[in-house]
């Protein structure tokens, strides 16, 4: 990625830049009351998946877009979070049912569970990041892919979480506020991170690893950190997913799922957070819009279109729709672009 970092100059500090995030969170809460039980459940389902996918895409963008490490095992992180959280809540539901059923208590329990699920996943991300010590991009891609496979094989072999039979009866704890609240928190955290000293190290690794090292950046540490942080949020989104679908099965987290996240990130732009969000929502909705076509022809065009899109994008517009720009930069063009320079 030989892209000059335009927006970094406008690095946010202090309370001033905190307000948009608080407003976004407040917006999520308002919308939560507007849509819950009012919106048609089918559209609501699409909305929920879009939110989960957006969180996933943002977390992968931190690894692939900002740190330049191609990860093909994101579904693996997601499944770790999903399974860990589902295991905790189903066990709790059996031993302390009021913790799950009491509407005043369960959100706090669920919040804790999300964090635990994320931490487990982050640990996995740390483990995957470690061999990257000696791996260049291509090898790392295969290792992450293999890691996703290894997780799937392990899940298949653990009877406590259902193995191949899957895990039913997961309590329904995800809500609009949770899914989109987590999305805002993820965006905020990643945004702050990439504008911090560590974030600049990530970018340096992406731009040129050898040069970064020469400048004193501990590239291994940066990569491992990016993996762990990305995996954390992927794990949280997996937990949200599990507690909305209420059933987990290893098949859900196969390679195609990782691929869907990759295409979201690439389409939106490697290095654009808002691009990831827009692409995730767009592709989730598109999937449902293609449904009638699919029913009519009895053929699954979707993945063919996705894979073609991936190739065409790489050939014609390798930086995705937004490149490394954010949506907000569209509105601030006059102020910011003068500092940055063109693509």
């Amino acid at each position: 990625m030989s892209k000059p970092e335009a927006k970094l100059n406008g690095s946010p500090h202090g309370m001033k830049t905190l307000w948009p995030w608080i407003a976004a969170l407040a917006g999520v809460i308002v919308v939560h009351f507007l849509v819950t039980d009012r919106l048609n459940p089918y559209f609501f389902t699409i909305l929920m998946y879009a939110g989960v996918n957006a969180t996933l895409a943002v977390s992968l963008n931190l690894i692939s877009g900002f740190t330049g490490q191609f990860s093909m095992g994101h579904a693996g992180f997601m499944s770790v979070g999903g399974y860990v959280s589902a295991f905790i809540t189903t066990s709790l539901a059996a031993s302390h049912p009021d913790l799950i059923n009491d509407p005043n208590l369960s959100p706090f329990v669920f919040g804790g569970v999300l964090v635990v699920a994320g931490l487990f996943s982050a640990f996995m991300g740390y483990l995957v990041g470690l061999p990257s010590l000696r791996l260049r991009g291509d090898y790392l891609a295969i290792v992450t892919l293999g890691f996703g496979e290894i997780i799937r094989v392990i899940v298949l072999n653990v009877d406590a979480i259902g193995g191949a039979r899957g895990m039913p009866n997961i309590p329904e704890l995800s809500s609009f506020a949770w899914v989109y609240g987590v999305l805002v928190v993820t965006l905020f955290s990643v945004w702050r991170l990439i504008h911090s000293r560590q974030g600049r190290e990530f970018l340096a690794v992406r731009e040129d690893e050898i040069a970064a090292e020469a400048m004193g950046v501990n590239t291994t540490k940066a990569k491992v950190r990016a993996f762990a942080t990305g995996a954390f949020f992927a794990g949280v989104s997996g937990a949200l997913f599990a507690h909305y679908l209420r059933y987990l099965n290893p098949q859900t987290f196969d390679f195609n799922r990782s691929f869907e996240v990759i295409i979201m990130v690439v389409l939106g732009g490697l290095g654009s957070l808002s691009g990831s969000v827009v692409a995730a929502i767009f592709l989730t909705v598109l999937k449902e819009m293609l449904r009638p076509l699919q029913e009519l022809t009895k053929l699954d065009f979707r993945m063919v279109i996705y894979s073609m899109l991936l190739i065409v994008l790489m050939l014609t517009r390798p930086n995705g729709i937004f490149g490394t720009k954010e949506i907000t930069s569209l509105f601030k063009r006059g102020r910011r672009s003068s500092k940055g320079g063109a693509t």
Partner: protein, 390 residues
């Protein structure tokens, strides 16, 4: 590091805020539309794997359902109304099945849901049908957990414990073998279920499982598993997988000089089994829902009508789809009105329904009590061996 700390603090704050909002979460309500729908059609939804690697299962089931509704409509329908079937594809994925079920129930406002073939997908769909109060009948999900999801969930096939038992008893009583090897597909919930219940019954009744080996769907080399099995000298091998792998397993078993019969379940039922397995699969046995050779008039009528419409002999899944649709129509005829509750109650009281796949009586777990057949692979087709009653 300061930013990191700040970040964590504010994130924690935000999470707490979201949690507080979550507190006011609604009391869970069922969005069931309990008014009897107007109009002269009865909308029924079907979710199946129409694309993906299990597409043949979805298509087989769909053909059976389609044929049943066609016949019922031709005979005047139910309560003067005609059935209309809406079929959605789930690509063989549990989460897609859940989305499809949600769409059918809340967008299309179906009155009953048919599907899925695989238990994993049915398990993803069942909570949605249950919480919306829409009766769901799965044609062939054999995992006991499926109907445990709620009182609106039914099935018309036997369950894994029974099918495993059938083959265990068949091995002991008919084949008279004592030492059997098990070769299961760990990727497949159905295979794991059958293998477990087979082992249970077989060992309880004096048999011995000498070795329990496994593979993953999609593998093509099974020689090392079979070598390990050969070393234990079993008299038969139980392979409750899908036909896709069984054909290759049979070939490689013969190559290794393992000349013992293979045994399996309804996942074997496909013309591809004998095509891929060739001569090697001959002389093997599997349990199934019905036999097209069955001379009873109900079966023969179904087979000939199905053949007339689709040009092939219906497999077990087509027969199950057919029966699921017929059971639904029968219940709707008996129900006092067509509200979801009344239809549910009527399905629950299904008794001695003469299905193609046997006489169907639903028990208190909403599972049918019915017999299974054992078929032998011979001459490139299947020969009826015996019927095993529960």
């Amino acid at each position: 590091m300061m930013t990191m700390e700040k970040m964590i603090k504010s994130s924690a704050l935000a999470l707490a805020l979201v949690a507080v909002v979550g507190c006011t979460k609604k009391e869970s309500t069922t969005g069931a539309t309990n008014a009897a729908p107007a109009g002269d059609t009865i909308l029924v939804g079907e979710v199946g794997s129409m694309t993906g690697s299990e597409a043949t299962f979805g298509t087989s089931t769909h053909n059976g359902i389609e044929l049943a509704f066609e016949q019922i409509n031709a005979a005047g329908g139910v309560k003067g109304k005609k059935f209309k079937l809406i079929t959605l594809d789930d690509q063989g994925k549990p989460d897609e099945a859940a989305t499809a079920a949600t769409k059918l129930i809340t967008q299309d406002k179906i009155q009953a849901l048919l599907g899925e073939v695989a238990s994993s997908r049915s398990l993803a769909m069942a909570p949605i049908a249950q919480s919306n109060g829409v009766p769901m009948i799965t044609p062939s999900s054999t995992n006991p957990k499926v109907t445990e999801q709620g009182d609106y969930i039914f099935r018309v096939c036997f369950i894994d414990p029974f099918q495993g038992t059938v083959m265990a008893k068949f091995a002991l009583d008919t084949l008279k073998v004592k030492n059997v090897a098990v070769l299961r597909d760990v990727k497949n919930d159905y295979s794991v279920g059958l293998a477990d219940f087979f082992t249970q019954t077989f060992t309880k009744n004096g048999g011995k499982v000498v070795v329990d080996q496994s593979f993953s769907a999609g593998d093509m080399d099974f020689k090392s598993q079979l070598t390990a099995i050969r070393a234990k000298k079993p008299e038969a091998i139980y392979v409750p997988g899908y036909y896709t792998e069984v054909g290759l397993i049979a070939r490689q078993a013969k190559e290794l000089g393992l000349n013992v019969p293979l045994m399996g379940g309804d996942g074997w039922d496909s013309p591809k089994l004998t095509e891929i397995g060739g001569k090697s699969i001959e002389g093997s046995y599997f349990s199934n829902h019905y036999s097209p050779e069955d001379q009873s008039p109900a079966v023969q009528k179904f087979v000939s009508e199905f053949k007339a419409k689709y040009g092939v002999i219906p497999d077990g899944l087509s027969a199950m789809g057919y029966d699921a649709a017929k059971v639904l129509a029968d219940a709707m005829t008996r129900a006092p009105d067509l509200t979801n509750k009344a239809v549910r109650d009527a399905i629950a009281t299904t008794k001695d329904f003469p299905g193609v796949t046997g006489v169907i009586t639903l028990n208190e777990h909403r599972d049918p009590v019915k017999s299974a057949v054992v078929l032998k692979v011979a001459g490139g087709g299947y020969k009826y061996q015996t019927t095993v009653k529960p």
